[in-house]
Assembly symmetry: C2
Homo-oligomer: 194 residues x 2
C-alpha cells in the first residue's frame, strides 16, 4: 500500500489553504473555513497535516526555495546582466501566473510565521534581494544600466511585478507572454518616449 492518496489530500489542503489565505489572510481564515473548502470536517484535516502554522510554513518556504534556486541558476549562466534581470523578472511573472495564490501568501502572510522560521524566512528573502541587487549593480558597472540608486531600482522592479497577483487573470485579454513583454518594456525602457 502506497501513500499516494494521503499525499494527494495533503496537497489538496495546501492548495485550498493558499487560496483562502490569499483571499482572507492567514488570521482571517479559520480551519473550519478551510475544511469546508476541502470537503471535510476541521478535525479530519489533522490526519493529514500537523497544524495551521505548518500549512503556512510549507507554502512560504516552497516559494522561497524556488526563488533562491532559480536565482543561483541565473547567476551561474553566462549572459549579459540585462538578460539576467529579464530572466528574473520573467521568473517572477511566471510563478505569479502559475501559482499566484502561494506567491501571494509568501508575499503577504509570511509575517505570521512563528519563530524561529520567521527569522529564517526574512534572512532568505534578504539574501535573495542581495543577490538581485548585486546583478543590478554589476549591470550598472558594465554600462548596461543607468546609474540609479540600486536599492530603489531593486524594490521598484520587485514591486512592479506584484500587481500581477491582484489583477491579472490568464485568458482574459493578455497572454502571459504579452504580459511579460509589456512589463519588461516599461521596466527596462521606461514609460517616456525617447
Amino acid at each position: 500500500m502506497f501513500k499516494t492518496k494521503k499525499v494527494a489530500k495533503r496537497e489538496l489542503i495546501l492548495a485550498e489553504a493558499a487560496k483562502l489565505f490569499k483571499d482572507r489572510g492567514y488570521s482571517g481564515t479559520s480551519m473550519r473555513d478551510l475544511a469546508g473548502q476541502v470537503g471535510m470536517e476541521a478535525a479530519s484535516m489533522y490526519n493529514h497535516i500537523k497544524s495551521k502554522d505548518e500549512l503556512l510554513d510549507t507554502i512560504c518556504f516552497r516559494i522561497s526555495d524556488t526563488y533562491i534556486s532559480q536565482l543561483a541558476e541565473i547567476e551561474a549562466t553566462a549572459i549579459p546582466f540585462s538578460e539576467k534581470i529579464k530572466a528574473l523578472v520573467r521568473l517572477h511573472i511566471r510563478l505569479m501566473v502559475e501559482d499566484g495564490a502561494a506567491v501571494s501568501v509568501a508575499n503577504h502572510d509570511w509575517k505570521y510565521l512563528p519563530e524561529p522560521r520567521l527569522t529564517e524566512f526574512k534572512q532568505a528573502r534578504k539574501n535573495y534581494e542581495k543577490g538581485f541587487a548585486a546583478l543590478i549593480e554589476a549591470g550598472i558597472a558594465a554600462g548596461e544600466f543607468r546609474p540609479v540608486n540600486v536599492s530603489v531600482a531593486l524594490f521598484t522592479v520587485l514591486s512592479a511585478v506584484r500587481w500581477v497577483e491582484l489583477w491579472y487573470r490568464p485568458g482574459r485579454g493578455l497572454s502571459a507572454e504579452e504580459l511579460e513583454n509589456n512589463i519588461l518594456t516599461v521596466l527596462l525602457g521606461g514609460l517616456a518616449q525617447r
Copy 2:
C-alpha cells in the same frame, strides 16, 4: 464644553490602529492589543469609537478620499501628461512617507470592510484607476509615452510605488526627494541605458 479631548483620543486610537493593522493585519489585531498600545483597557475604547469595523472604515476611506480629490485637482491642471503622471507618482510616494501605516491598511486590509462599504471602496478604487489610466492613454496619444498596454503600465506604476511602505524609512540614507527622483527616473526613463 467642546469635545476636542474626545476627538484627540479618537485620533490616537485611529493612529495606533493603523500601525497595528499594518504590522499584524486587521484580523491579526485584537482590540486588547490595540488598547494596550493606546494605554487603556479594551472596553474603555468604546467610549470613543463605535466598533473595530468603524476603525477600518475610517482609515480606508480617509486615504481613498485623499487620492480621489488629488486626482481631480491634477486632472484640472494644465500641464503635460508626463507632468501629471509625475505629480501622481509624487503624491503616492508622499502619502506613503507621511502616513505609511494608513496607506498600507487601505492597500491591504480593505477586503475586511463589511458590506456595503466594501463595494463602495472597490468602486472608488476602480474610478481612481480609470482616471489614472485615462491620463496614460492621453499621454500615449499625445506622443509623450511609448505605446504600451495601458493597463500594464497603470498597474506597474501603481505597484512600483508600494514597496516604499515596506522598505523606506525616512532619515536612513535617502531623503524623500531623492527617493521620488530615483523612482521617477526608473519608471519614466527605464532601467536600461539608452
